[in-house]
């Protein structure tokens, strides 16, 4: 379990270990895949927010949601859902932007930590 600066767990690979019945090779493969795919999604998220393409933003959040849950990134549990929900009909774009930033920044940290495990 990795901890963030305020000592809250940032992510966990427990679910992956449990799912693979302790298969370390598989867990490493999935971490690599996560690190490979997340930047693309982050870029899509940023671009769609900039161009106010909210449909794409919603779809990216929707796709990312279960993957973030798989790594048990608790601090993103609500923000990613808020992005998905609020992107349908955004009333407060600033709040939406804050949530997107939080997701992007947190994932950046998570990926750096995850890269150390491979």
């Amino acid at each position: 379990m990795k901890k963030s600066s305020d000592q809250e767990p940032l992510f966990s690979t427990d679910k992956l270990y449990s799912l693979s019945k302790g298969n370390e090779e598989f867990v490493k493969k999935m971490i690599k895949l996560f690190i490979e795919t997340v930047p693309e999604n982050i870029k899509k998220m940023k671009d769609s927010l900039d161009s106010q393409d909210f449909k794409t933003l919603k779809n990216v959040a929707h796709t990312m949601k279960p993957n973030l849950d798989m790594f048990d990134i608790k601090c993103l549990y609500l923000p990613i859902r808020k992005v998905e929900e609020n992107a349908v009909n955004p009333e407060n774009i600033d709040a939406l932007k804050d949530d997107v930033d939080l997701v992007v920044n947190t994932l950046d940290k998570v990926m750096k930590e995850l890269a150390k495990l491979c």
Binding site: L19, M30, L33, F34, T63
Partner: protein, 447 residues
């Protein structure tokens, strides 16, 4: 059973790999991964056993692809795996024919696993059903279902052939035990409907009050005790054949309802408001003379003409020349096989006895007589003594053929000897003849 071929349709590489890994833990699962709806559709020729479908795909919607998959093969189970926690969407997709709707969360894998186990069990059952239907279909090829090579039975084969080639209503008549249901089954299993259900209903055995709900089904709450909706026999036979046996036993009220169903080709369940379209082939049977019943006012004339269709009149066994021996030999063989007995044969005396009996109970009676004879016989041969016919019934045979007075005398004495267990004194007393007459006939092997 061969491998279960599973399509994973998922655009997210990470989640797709997770599912793939999880499902591949079962060596019986053959997993194919696709990232778009289009890829999935172009590979449907591989005949997947199950499809897990992500609701949100880049090139299409869950609804759209589900509809396309179902229009290609309506039987393939599709499990929607979605991040959408929306009950309305789930209900709509299930209505559209999805097998299951699983939310992407930490329990997805175990839910998917359980769903697949259920699907696999269903697939095994379906496969067994198809095999059994094929087996039954083989059993009901005309020559296997109906034994005999008499002229009259050959004519029946020709009619059955014609009946099997079309959807015409067939009315089968004949004495009890002549094999009316066997004929109905043989027509069904040799027709284009052979892979669909054959539903037999004995109209004489359904209580009057239950007939309507039994035949047409009922809606939940239609009457006290109707806790769930139930489809009736007509709907059960959808795309197949319904066999209405003992059709003459229906009361007038039910006759008018059946007439409506046949005319409109739709049923309305008891307590229901809408009607359900029917695609059912109808075969009816009766041991009565339906036209006579019409004349007596017991059967509706309009229904009679609706049901008449292609009439097949089954001859009684006594009119089927030497078919009785063909059938008897078949029953002997089958009974020995079923009871793991050594093969037995009908000797000449047994064959002669069978040929001279009238079989008022037709094939059903012949079967019972033959099976008893197999059990009673010692050794490999079945003799006349093992054939226990009903002596009272045998008098019908007395005048079957024209005989001389002397031959009639012999037949009468033979009949009495059988009836009274070869008690010469008693027979002589009953017929008021001298016992020496009987002894002489025995000595001359006349009886």
């Amino acid at each position: 059973m061969s491998n279960t071929r599973i399509f994973i349709v998922e655009d997210d590489k990470f989640y797709c790999s997770l599912l793939d890994h999880h499902l591949s833990l079962n060596p019986d699962y053959e997993v194919h991964k696709f990232s778009t709806g289009k890829e999935c559709l172009t590979n449907l020729y591989l005949n997947p056993d199950v499809i897990t479908l992500d609701y949100s795909l880049p090139d299409t919607t869950g609804y759209d692809i589900l509809r396309k998959i179902k229009s290609n093969n309506k039987d393939v189970p599709v499990i929607i795996v979605s991040g959408q926690e929306d009950v309305g969407t789930a209900v709509e997709l299930l209505k559209e024919g999805a097998y299951d709707y699983i939310i992407k969360d930490e329990n997805t894998h175990s839910k998917l696993w359980s769903s697949l186990i259920k699907i696999k069990e269903n697939l095994v059952l379906k496969k067994e059903l198809i095999e059994l239907r094929e087996e039954v279909s083989q059993k009901y090829t005309f020559e296997k279902a109906i034994k005999g090579n008499s002229q009259c039975i050959k004519k029946i084969f020709a009619l059955m052939e014609k009946a099997a080639q079309s959807n015409i209503t067939v009315s089968v008549t004949g004495e009890t035990g002549t094999g009316k249901e066997v004929v109905a089954k043989a027509i069904h299993y040799n027709s284009s409907r052979s892979t669909k259900p054959f539903v037999a209903v004995n109209m004489g055995a359904i209580p009057k009050d239950l007939a309507e709900s039994e035949l047409f089904g009922y809606e939940k709450g239609a009457f006290t005790g109707a806790n769930t909706r139930r489809v009736g026999k007509f709907e059960e036979a959808s795309q197949g054949t319904i066999f209405l046996d003992e059709i003459a036993e229906m009361d007038m009220n039910l006759q008018s309802k059946i007439l409506r169903v046949i005319q409109e080709r739709e049923v309305t369940r008891v307590g229901g408001s809408g009607s359900v379209k029917l695609d059912v082939r109808i075969i009816v049977a009766t041991h009565r003379n339906l036209l006579e019943e019409v004349k007596k006012g017991n059967f509706r004339e309009d229904l009679y003409y609706r049901l008449l269709g292609l009439p097949i009149e089954l001859p009684p066994l006594r009119e089927r020349e030497k078919d009785v021996l063909v059938i008897a030999k078949y029953f002997v063989e089958e009974f020995c096989k079923q009871n793991k007995m050594t093969k037995k044969h009908l000797d000449v005396s047994a064959q002669e006895k069978l040929l001279t009996y009238s079989f008022p109970g037709n094939i059903r009676e012949l079967k019972a007589i033959v099976e008893l004879a197999v059990v009673l016989s010692d050794g490999d041969e079945i003799s006349a003594a093992d054939i226990r016919t009903n002596p009272v019934m045998n008098t019908d045979n007395l005048f079957k053929q024209e005989c001389s007075l002397r031959e009639y005398n012999i037949n009468i004495i033979k009949y009495y000897m059988e009836k009274y267990d070869n008690d010469v004194l008693l027979v002589a007393q009953k017929l008021d003849i001298g016992k020496s007459t009987i002894y002489r006939m025995i000595k001359n092997k006349e009886i």
